[in-house]
Point group: C2
Chain length 448, copies 2
């Protein structure tokens, strides 16, 4: 059945959903339709936790009832072609959907590198599809030797979570000398590695998988050091590439990055088409380079800009580029990062000053449940502006990185951070005399 | 023994200690001496937790070894007189201490209202003195009926903590219709009250204590509703007044507030004397009125400004006034506040818009340990600038209020908050689609 709508949204991940809600908030009279190809989606960042932490994998489903409750139409179909001339999208059902404004939020696809044997059974890329994931989970629960390929945050979270299952041997292979090295400097990467080792994960850093061995089903992998590692299942957490084929087939610009080119209000080269989330091109907040950052938090920030400004520029707040802010949780240890690391800032040629501190996340530190918190802040030497930060600690570190993120987005000066007013409480934070964001700034300031 | 020093600091609370450390950092060649009258101090915000949470009250001591390790001299004496002409301070020991620069950080004294019988034994003001507090704790541990007078955050924390002791009946009397009403709007105050009631605290809001009854020792109190409440001990948590006598005796200005007048660099009317912490005058960040805010976080921010700028203006970051940011913890429930409340903003005549949201602090909400988080943000209608925020939730709310605090101190616009990039993680935060700071901003923006 063909359908006329006013705002058509392709996709059903966080970028699509937030675009739909925001557009509904700002343009309540417009008809909004969302087309999604996976009948039953999942909350992307919750995927690792479907293996063990969640009582039932179904608890991680991403439903569309909240959309429908607002009068947003949801159609299951696979968009396959955009006709910009006639302002329509064709589905694989052959239905045709017309639009006034189109938001492309079709996400990314997992990278499947050309390693011999990668197409064997038992080698699982991660798709955001409940039906697929339930099969993977059921399979892995009955098995013993699991290999995770890729030590980015997805790989690390899978390794931690699967290691909680009984009777499994988990290994993690990362081609770089350290895990998480895109987001953290070496000293933080090592803390994460140590924590995974404590969980019983065998860490194969600086290690390349050369071949997947076995007949139809994977039985072992051959590593670049010659070792043959017995495996029953392999999870690929290598990264993702923007899903851009349909957009580029329709003649939309790519700019110089991998994603669909967008301006600061998420408009593509076609004034009636916007793109948000993993499929849209991204720039780094400070370096202005194309950035291959795929994070739900970046995607939702873009979606809020797109949804508000789709017909006219209502919210004067353009997309300033991604600060690549994220947090992860490894067996009780929280790691967060935002902006540039020391190593990435130096690589870009920034002259920087680094401040560091470490202490208890409660005060006095003898209070029950207290954990160590470690903070590193990166400042531009000339301007004194904060350029990045990393934190490692207990649960509260998950929001401490958002304090740092706010400071980065507001380009806060080091002296403002050194004299920050902050709420402190024995059970909740470090002491006011030793608040770590302040002490790290002070440490850097004395080196300026 | 008389003593010559260069930087003389009076006091040993957070303001004094941070002044000393900061001065040492910026002026490492200067001789720094700190005079304190209480031989064994305590961490002020940890006082309530000496009753039950801490294994040993001594765990809450505020030692001076870290000062001495940096070469800062610590002298036990009570400063009683400042001679500005000769630039000396006289101690009650009759020793005389000369200075080049003097920092007054002598704190505040508990308010002891003129209620008949308040001087009976068993009625305890809270002094920041380990020896005194140990006696109070030992006494209360052997008793049954405890009354807390005052429902500010100190009173509330005492009530919660003492209610954890076995076999005690705790009552809390607050003269206002609600507890915590200086820092929270009614709906948040009620959440705190409910939590205390769940802990078994009898809440006597809107209730005035008219008289303390008994012979030498208090045995009951008479309330304004006529009730006589049997009590074994009473803790006074009514508030504090700046300790200014010595400063005013020396002719320093008071300005129009209760504290010692200071400029934006914490300098008093005497160019060689600075004042920081509870004894120093405070202005509200937005209203510019004198503010009776006594918080360690405000005090330490002031101390960092004073310590850095004592000889010359090194850190260009003047004191912008207090944002009255604080967090408290009641039986697992965290409440945080910063800036103006809805009621205080309206009282000041600000035209405001309020945004609110409520949801899970993890995602999906079915993850173990997830708690409800509720946020309220106050914006100026004309300028769109954030003026205040309140949060209630689990442990992470203790740092969420610091995200809001950073936004207030940076005068962030509502559209920046609505499109904020933030780290999210299933175990650590709300979902990126529902991050509460963002949703509360969006709720307000749609009402602008």
């Amino acid at each position: 059945m063909d359908s006329d709508t006013e705002i058509l949204i392709l996709g059903a991940g966080p970028a699509a959903i937030v675009s739909a809600f925001t557009a509904h908030t700002y343009y309540p009279d417009k008809k909004i339709t969302l087309i999604k190809d996976i009948p039953k989606g999942v909350i992307p960042c919750g995927i690792p936790y479907m293996f063990s932490s969640l009582a039932d994998p179904e608890d991680n489903k991403m439903g569309t009832q909240p959309l429908e409750a607002k009068g947003i139409e949801v159609i299951i179909d696979k968009a396959i072609k955009i006709d910009r001339q006639n302002k329509t999208v064709q589905g694989s059902s052959n239905n045709v959907y017309s639009y006034e404004k189109l938001i492309i939020a079709v996400g990314s696809n997992p990278i499947i590198p050309p390693i011999p044997g990668i197409d064997k059974q038992g080698v699982y890329p991660i798709y955001k599809d409940m039906t697929y994931l339930r099969k993977v989970i059921d399979k892995i629960k009955s098995q013993k030797n699991i290999l995770i390929v890729g030590g980015g945050f997805i790989g690390v979270e899978f390794a931690d979570e699967i290691s909680k299952m009984e009777g499994v041997n988990v290994s993690l292979a990362e081609i770089q000398p350290q895990i998480l090295s895109n987001s953290f400097d070496a000293e933080f990467c090592l803390l994460a590695q140590k924590k995974l080792e404590e969980s019983g994960v065998r860490m194969l850093t600086g290690t390349k998988v050369m071949e997947f061995l076995g007949n139809e089903t994977v039985q072992a992998v051959r590593l670049d050091n010659g070792e043959e590692l017995k495996v029953d299942s392999v999870i690929l957490g290598i990264g993702a590439i923007p899903n851009t084929k349909m957009a580029f087939d329709a003649g939309l610009d790519s700019g110089r990055g991998q994603g669909i080119w967008v301006d600061e209000y998420m408009r593509t080269s076609d004034p009636d088409i916007l793109a948000v989330g993993d499929c849209a091109g991204k720039k780094d907040f400070y370096t202005r380079r194309n950035a291959a950052v795929m994070l739900a938090s970046t995607a939702t920030a873009e979606a809020r800009i797109a949804g508000a400004n789709i017909y006219q520029l209502k919210v004067v707040r353009e997309n300033k580029g991604t600060i690549a802010i994220y947090a992860t949780y490894i067996n009780g240890l929280v790691l967060g990062s935002a902006g540039l690391t020391e190593i990435s800032a130096k690589k870009e040629g920034f002259e920087i000053v680094v401040g560091q501190t470490e202490g208890s996340d409660k005060h006095p530190g003898s209070l029950p449940g207290s954990q160590n918190v470690k903070i590193k802040l990166i400042f531009s030497r000339q301007s004194g502006i904060i350029m990045g930060g990393q934190v490692c600690g207990g649960i509260s570190a998950g929001e401490i990185i958002n304090i740092i993120g706010m400071a980065i987005q507001q380009r806060v000066a080091i002296s403002e951070l050194e004299t920050l007013q902050m709420a402190t409480h024995p059970y909740l934070t470090a002491a006011p005399t030793k608040y770590p964001v302040v002490l790290a700034a002070q440490d850097a300031l004395t080196k300026m």
